[in-house]
Amino acid sequence: MMQYVVRRLLLLIPVIITILLITFLMKALIPTDAVTAMYRGQLSEKDAAQAIATLRAKYHLDLPWYQQFFFYVGDLLHGNFGESIRLRRPVIDEIGYRYVNTILLTGLALAIALIFGLTTGILAAARRNTWLDVTATTIGLFGISMPAFFFGLLLILVFSVWLRLLPVVPHGPIAILLPAFALGAIEAAPLSQVARSSMIDVLRRDYIQAARARGQSEMALIFRHALPNALIVVLTVVGLQIGNLLGGAFIVETIFSWHGIGELAVNAIQWRDFALTQAIILISAATYLVINLVADIVYAWLDPRVELLS
């Protein structure tokens, strides 16, 4: 087990380096030069050249790219994510509370997705080829075809405008309900499909037949014998789903004005605020990596065969 964890951690190193390189190159690849843009038309040509040279030296822009990269990583290690040119303050101050908001939102959405996805998936597998299964599968197809922004707007229309159950711009703890439901319900669809096929696969196994032959009730077969094994497969998908939830957050947060990093990412790209965009991408990618690492380790712990295979 220890060996597996160590190997999994070592595999992360190239991934982390690539992510750092991608976010670093983002700044290098943009066609506009921020330093030149800052002084354009404001100073005489000679003074501008002087000021630009000073700024370039200050931000190490006069060095070759690989040396700049080391400065970039060094800054990150010191917790210095740069300063937002739009908000005129350190990026990390703005991201901090928004990050917590996004984690709260995706956490609740994941819980909703798991409750809906697992229940429908298990029911569909247990009552395979009945109307229940067909209904669950159809709803699943609806789910994977539904644009998140349309679903979000529909929820506002139904719950806030027509039924008047929730205020249009809710404050306080209830504000999280609609966005979490919008995000969770859409992610429930693929989870339900995985839960169904994994459950069907397990229910076919010999040990289930043996348990049935011993006279176990259908309920016991499904919940005590089949479910724990079926859940192992679902777990790996959950790790990947977090990526979708983080991705879906950028749409859902925009619709519901939920102040998370998804909403901030959309704004940052529109503002052409690169320090901010860079930091959000870096932090989201890191979160995703850590969650998947945990999911993989739990997976290996639950199913020892994984360790042997890898």
Partner: protein, 290 residues
Amino acid sequence: MTVLMVEEPPVVVIPRWRVIANRLLQSRAAVVGGLIVLIVALLAIFAPWIAPHDPFKIDPIHRLKPPGFDHWIGTDEVGRDLLSRIIYGTRYFLLICAITSSISATAGTILGLVAGAGSPLTDGIIMRTIDILLAFPYILMVLVVVAILGPSLWTGMVAVGIAGIPGYARLVRSTVLTVKGEDYVTSVRALGANETEILFGTVLPNVLSPLIIYFAFATPLSALIASALSFAGLGTQPPAPEWGAMLVNSRTYLFSAWWAVAAPGLALFVSIFGMNILGNGLRDVLDPRN
């Protein structure tokens, strides 16, 4: 002694595509999905003849009109006819599907073929890079490209297309590796075919089935992401009648003119749904495991 004459039935060879087409036609879901896609395509081709109004014509007097006789599904916040904009939107939808998928599928297939058929060194380099890219959430990759290139219709499509490459590459490579080990490939090699002939003449055709199935599911997903980008203001920009972009301004009028929000959303949903059930049908027909 009577000789029993048994007449040999004539051997009829039915081409493979006929078999597939017949089986597709028997699947109700695939037919419905295919019809939806066909309707979208026809609307896109004949948009100028079908659309009752000019999709860009602003008419401030008739803004936010509910569905009625003159404007079947109403008008938007500047009085443009929604039905005409939805009809022209099919062109954007199909363009997005075509461009994003051709970028992902072409680059992914080439990388996958090279990795699967090339030397262990090339395979190693390509696949390690792909693995690393896959460890990066899909949507973040899209956002990185959009952030670099700046928001527009084309950069949005390029971004979604690029983000889809690793998925195709991995699928093609693993299929190539499986096919390469099959007996029929060995026999073609024994007959004296060179490696290039084997790769394009024997291996590639056998990679097509899984590739088509993957294509059928990846395309609607790319279209969804591209529209979401437009909706967030990071893809197609208004006033283009792209369904995601149509919602950018009209969502403010959700309370007074819900049809302006529902129409483009519904159009996108129905088109994606059609593609997904067509994909399901294709998978059932093409996947030998079914």
